[in-house]
């Protein structure tokens, strides 16, 4: 056994064969790896090992298993350079600290050990890799509209609640989660048809709004509890609800339906068919709310309460009834948004799904102008677009959410009443 590595060292290995490298303490070190991965190795790729000065040490061509292996006798930094890959594949740029000259990958070899370079192969059209920049932007705009419409479902309700009662409802995000959770229970656990389930979920969530107002908010209004105190009550409610979700459903992500939806391609846009349905439903629901607000007596009354509750009450409007209706509609819309969000955006529902978009909801509502339903709609679309466009325009990872919040802060400096708000409402 001891002689085997020595023998390898003596007889130079044929360039084309993959030789098992065995590292020997204080004498040899190995650089090994696979082009592609074990399931999809890439054959016929030239792999070259360069030393720290860029001088070639060894090279070979991968065989069917995609493996390569080099042996070195000196510890130190080496670079692995990968030659031309078959069409449609590319080397994913390694982490910054492993980047060597000309796209090579840095490895640091110690004698007596074996190291693998940070080498990953991906298909060229993987993720954003291959699409032209314009296509990426168009795809992101489509995703942004989708996110924006779903955010709008929740934020219109949030804004209506704020308008009629003055309450910033921190538990609104949990209404969104509730929608996903109820749908998960109905469609996945109980096996009800998805469309029936969505309708039922909306109704159940609307009822949860009714119940909340009946049991909690109306008595609290009657008690004359201050708005700040009510806001802290919503914080408590949100905390309790989050952990209640965990208590009953667990901490892992649950799918509303097990099957996957087919992808529909519209030019450069690729979204699941369900996404288009979700966008359509959201648009219709918001249009209905808008119509009711603008052209019906109930809507007029809601806007009157929003403007001045005392005056509205004095002119014969049943303020409590209006507020209750607002709670029902808001909770129902949030639930509907939650189902679709779980179906098409987050690919499942978890106890903190709502919490993750709470700030986006607040950003949308504030951006449009606190308390204005149409402002919330416009704000939600903008926030959705900003979040989805931030990625391809250079904001890494979770920072895309932060971009939306930065916009919010900047806006407050310039136009605190929001885009559609009136200056008189503020300060």
């Amino acid at each position: 056994m001891l002689l085997a590595p020595l023998a390898l060292l003596m007889g130079a290995p044929p360039a084309n064969a993959v030789v098992l490298c065995l590292a020997q303490a204080d004498q040899t070190g190995c650089v090994t790896g696979t082009v592609g991965n074990r399931a999809n190795p890439v054959e016929g790729v030239d792999v070259t090992l360069l030393d720290a000065d860029g001088v070639e040490v060894d090279s070979l061509t991968t065989e069917a298993d995609g493996k390569f292996s080099f042996q070195v006798t000196e510890a130190g930094d080496y670079f692995v350079s990968v030659g031309e890959l078959p069409d449609g594949l590319e080397v994913r740029p390694p982490a910054e600290r492993f980047q060597g000259p000309d796209g090579s990958i840095l490895v640091t070899v110690a004698l007596g050990g074996s190291v693998s370079p940070d080498l990953n192969v991906r298909s060229v059209d993987f993720d954003a890799g291959g699409d032209s920049f314009g296509d990426q932007i168009i795809q992101s705009i489509a995703q942004g509209l989708r996110l924006g419409l779903l955010l709008a479902l929740a934020s219109v309700g949030l804004s209506l609640i704020y308008g009629t009662t003055g309450l910033s409802n921190f538990a609104h995000a949990e209404q969104v989660t509730l929608g996903g959770m109820v749908a998960y229970g109905l469609c996945n656990v109980a096996g009800i048809n998805l469309w029936v389930g969505i309708v039922l979920t909306t109704l159940i969530c609307g009822f949860s709004g009714f119940l909340q107002d009946f049991v909690m908010w109306k008595p609290l209004r009657k008690r004359g509890l201050g708005l700040t105190q009510m806001m802290i009550v919503t914080i408590g409610l949100s905390l309790a609800a989050q952990y209640a979700f965990q208590f009953f459903v667990g901490a892992s992500q649950q799918k509303v339906v097990v099957r996957n939806f087919d992808v529909v391609e519209l030019g450069p846009i690729r979204l699941t068919g369900m996404s288009f349905v979700a966008m359509g439903v959201a648009l219709v629901a918001i249009a209905i709310v808008g119509y009711v607000l603008l052209y019906t007596r109930v809507g007029q009354a809601t806007r009157a309460v929003s403007d001045n509750p005392a005056l509205a009450a004095a002119s014969g409007i049943d303020v409590d009834k209006i507020i209750r209706m607002v709670w029902v509609v808001a909770a129902g819309l949030a639930g509907l948004g939650g189902v679709f969000y779980a179906l098409v955006v987050s690919n499942g529902i978890r106890w903190d799904t709502g919490m993750q978009i709470l700030l986006l909801l607040f950003a949308a509502v504030t951006l449009g102008g606190l308390g204005t339903a149409f402002g919330a709609f416009v704000g939600a679309i903008i926030i959705g677009l900003v979040v989805e466009l931030a990625g391809p325009l250079g904001a890494p990872g979770d920072l895309k959410y932060a971009v939306a919040l930065v916009i919010l802060i900047v806006l407050l400096m310039v136009r605190p009443q929001g885009l559609l708000g009136r200056a008189a409402r503020v300060g």
Binding site: S168, L220, R223, L225, G226, L227, T228, Q229, M231, I232, V233, I235, G236, L237, S238, L239, A240, A241, Q242, Y243, A244, Q246, F247, M355, L359, F362, A363, T366, L370, P396, G397, D398, L399, Y401, A402, L405, V406, L408, I409, L412, M413, P416, V426, G427
Partner: protein, 464 residues
């Protein structure tokens, strides 16, 4: 009985944990924002995170501890300016939304892979990378220490009945103190007689001398090898002098108060509280390393900072400036008509409260890692619960509230783990159950007792 005792033991462990003290410091800051000034800051966890990052990153770049702490403060100062400038002229909700957003931005950025060299990404900065300078300041020596050293195991060979007796004495002392304080409060409270300036300077001088003597003597007693460092001596001197000062002023106040009947009640209540603390540690002695990463040293410093913060807040809110804060909380327009710059007052309150927040964050990470997700929104919400529980706009409310909040959660978790069968609630569910209780508790508290345990309802019309 054994189960009950072990549950109480776990509860106490949480109550004196450094993290509890750290959150208490942050809640003291939040009290300046929300309790005294009426600023709805929902981003206190962001301040904590910034303070922790400021200190830890500085230390990893070999900046001395003192300057690292200062850098943490400067970061939080800048953060306050950024938050305050756009929002403090607007209605309160805007500050709420902006602070919670900004805290989330800080958290997202801390987790970002792009900043991994500084913040360690989502892994965070490991404790060993920044704890060293703090631990080397310790003058407590090495080895382990049990508090109290004289405890139930020394009486009748630690028989169960001794512990039960200690528990009964403890409950009796707490009940007695509460009853006394309640009767005091209903009769208008005891008025502290002002101390003459001669007495005051004499006490301060005595404290300085005693503190210096203790600084020399105590490290010798603890058979030291680390306390040779000059900074360690300075820290020891500050701590000993403060403790002596507190004892002397407390004793003097008790002596003066003893002359009236109300004063006697107050002194008695104070004595009962001290007795209760002793009874707690007699019944549930705690053993930790003297110095170590998670030992008495970090606990001592953490709770010392809590006490110091309380003293600072006491002096601040008693000053004319403190009255300005309350004025802003009660009626901004009235303050403006008196020619006060409301914006500046709010900004000062935001900055000072934020500094307490970042100080809390620095203490929070002393025993663990600086990890962005450990200081997220939930922590801010817990801080609010603790503040409202103890009583906003009071001096000791934040501390009492935090201790009760953290220990009650452990109590609920352990008790439901021990007594609720697994079929109804599994072990992981008891954890979540305890948080559900916290959330519901926060709601009920705000609705039915917004002034908390210590607060004054008249002072708490906290509307923005």
């Amino acid at each position: 009985m054994d189960t009950i005792l072990s549950i109480l033991n776990a509860t106490l462990r949480e109550a004196i944990a450094p993290n509890t003290a750290a959150v208490a410091i942050a809640v003291i800051g939040l009290n300046i924002h929300f309790g005294f000034t009426g600023l709805l800051n929902i981003g206190q966890a962001g301040y904590m995170l910034l303070g922790a990052y400021g200190m830890a990153i500085s230390i990893t770049y070999d900046i001395p501890l003192l300057f690292a702490v200062l850098i943490g403060f400067v970061v939080s100062f800048v953060f306050s300016l950024i938050l305050g400038l756009p929002t403090l002229k607007l209605r309160g909700d805007y500050l709420a939304i902006v602070t919670i957003s900004a805290a989330e931005i800080v958290r997202y950025s801390g987790r970002l892979a792009a900043f991994e060299d500084f913040t360690g990404g989502s892994q965070g900065i490991f404790g060993k990378d920044y704890q060293g300078p703090f631990i080397s300041l310790s003058f407590l020596g090495s080895g382990r220490l049990t508090l109290l050293e004289f405890n139930y195991t020394d009486v009748a060979d630690g028989a169960r009945w001794v512990q039960v007796l200690g528990l009964i004495a403890l409950i009796g002392a707490i009940v007695g103190a509460v009853l006394l304080l309640k009767s005091l409060k209903s009769s208008g409270g005891a008025v502290l007689a002002p101390t003459s300036s001669t007495v005051r300077s004499a006490l301060v001088a005595a404290a300085l001398v005693l503190g210096a003597i203790l600084t020399v003597v105590v490290p010798a007693y603890a058979d030291r090898d680390t306390a040779t460092d000059i900074f360690s001596r300075v820290v020891a001197f500050v701590i000993f002098t403060s403790i002596v000062l507190a004892v002397l002023f407390g004793g003097q106040a008790a002596y003066a108060a003893w002359k009236t009947s109300k004063g006697r009640k107050a002194v008695l209540a104070g004595a009962l509280i001290i007795f209760a603390v002793l009874a707690i540690f007699f019944t549930f002695p705690k053993t930790y390393d003297r110095t170590g990463v998670d030992g008495w040293w970090v606990r001592m410093i953490a709770w010392f900072i809590v006490g110091l913060s309380c003293a600072v807040v006491f002096l601040l809110v008693r000053s004319p400036w403190g009255r300005l804060l309350r004025g802003v909380r009660e009626d901004e327009d009235a303050m403006r008509s008196l020619g006060k710059n409301v914006f500046a007052i709010k900004m000062q309150a935001l900055i000072i409260g934020g500094m307490f927040g970042s100080l809390g964050g620095m203490v929070y990470v002393l025993t663990g890692t600086v990890q962005a997700d450990s200081m997220g929104r939930s922590l801010t919400f817990f801080a609010y619960t603790a503040l409202l529980l103890g009583g906003a706009a009071t001096i000791f409310g934040p501390v009492l509230g935090t201790i009760i909040f953290f220990s009650a959660r452990i109590l609920i978790r352990e008790a439901s783990g021990a007594y609720i069968p697994d079929a109804i609630m599994t072990n992981s569910q008891t954890e979540q159950f305890s948080y559900v209780v916290v959330g519901v508790g926060l709601m009920l508290l705000v609705i039915f007792r917004p002034q908390g345990i210590l607060g004054n309802k008249r002072e708490l019309r906290f509307n923005v």
